[in-house]
Every structure is written in C-alpha cells, then in structure tokens.
C-alpha cells in the first residue's frame, strides 16, 4: 500500500498481560522502524529492520519487548507482561531501500495499560 498501516488503533491491556502491535510498511520499503511516544513527548527509537533482519536494536528494552518482520506478514512488536509505564503511542515508520530517504509514519497504536 501507499501508507504505513498500523493495527490496532487502540489497545487496552491489564497490567501483566501481553500486547501485540502490527505494522504493514509501504510496499517496496525495506526498512521498518518502531518508535515509542510517551505522554505526547519525545519519540524514543526502539528497533529497526532491514527486510526481515534486525538492523538496529539499540533502543529495545532488554526484557519483555520483542519484534519481528517476517516475509509476507506484517511486522509486529510484542510486549510481554506489560507494565503501566508501557502506556504510550507506538509508531511504525518505513523507508525505501535506497539512501537518503525520509521515513514515512503510520497513525500509531495507542496502548493503554490499566
């Protein structure tokens, strides 16, 4: 598609439950990025993929967070045993395989942990 598609738009989970977010990048884009925005403040980089390979995971919390980009499937970000502090909007972005191209963002998934 021509837009980065994120699902669901809103996700509510009780503390300790699992949360799974999905992202379909723009067709032809080979880079996928996940960012976390807490309380409408700064965007924090989590992880990026080049096709199905992890490209940069320096922002991923060591525990509970995992992500995948498998062929012919939406990319996913999964949080195990969620905590209140995981409440945030999670944005996915994608960019083309050639250099010096901006990232295109999805609408985000608002995750609320109760």
């Amino acid at each position: 598609g021509e837009e980065v598609a994120q699902t669901p738009k809103h996700l509510v989970r009780g503390e300790g439950q699992k949360a799974k977010l999905y992202c379909a990048p723009i067709k032809g884009h080979s880079y996928v990025f996940w960012y976390q925005q807490v309380l409408k403040n700064e965007f924090k980089f989590l992880i990026s993929f080049q096709n199905e390979n992890v490209f940069d995971e320096t922002g991923m919390p060591k525990e509970r967070f995992s992500a995948k980009c498998l062929p012919n499937s939406p990319c996913s970000l999964e949080i195990q045993a969620t905590k209140l502090e995981d409440s945030a909007v999670y944005f996915c972005a994608s960019s083309p395989p050639w250099g010096n191209q901006p990232q295109h963002f999805g609408d985000g998934t608002r995750l609320s942990i109760l």
Binding site: N41, F43, S48, H104, G108
Partner: protein, 114 residues
Amino acid sequence: AQSVSQHNHHVILSEAASLELGCNYSYGGTVNLFWYVQYPGQHLQLLLKYFSGDPLVKGIKGFEAEFIKSKFSFNLRKPSVQWSDTAEYFCAVIVKAAGNKLTFGGGTRVLVKP
C-alpha cells in the same frame, strides 16, 4: 549520545504572524535533518528535510528551514501562519555514523489563533 533540543515547548501566535521554531542538535559529524508536523489526531508528516547542498531548505505549506552547521542548528520558519498550522512540530536528526534511526526533539506545540 546525540540529542536534539527544541527550545520552545509552546508557541501561541495570531494568524499572519511569522513563526520561527528553534532546533539544535549535539552531534558534530554528518547528519540528516528533518522537520515533521503532527496535526491533531493525525500521524507525523514530513515538512522538509536536509541531506546536503543548499542549507536553506524549502518544504511544503510555505515552511522553510536553515541549516547552520557552525551553530548545530536547523530552525524552522514560516513568514505568515494560518490557523491550519496549529499542530505539534518535531525536529529530528539522523546521525549517519549511528545508523538510520531518527532522534527527535521534544516537540513544540503551536497554536495559531484565528
């Protein structure tokens, strides 16, 4: 670690006023610079970008930004704002030596009064 600072958290101005939003970054090497805008309830949209060449960059909707390398700055300007420019504006940087992830500033919320 690199950082991006946006000096103004909130700006309120009237239609037809001029707008300038400050952005400074802390990394001395090669950078790509971006301004994104987030209208209420929408996803991040790219306003303009700088990769190389002319340091004065023109973007969409009448916005422009000037890269001043000696000041590590990339300030955003618009000569005459409209009510529809009410939004949150984010400056972002890619440090080439650190991969292709975006490092964002804290954002500036702009309210244009009709």
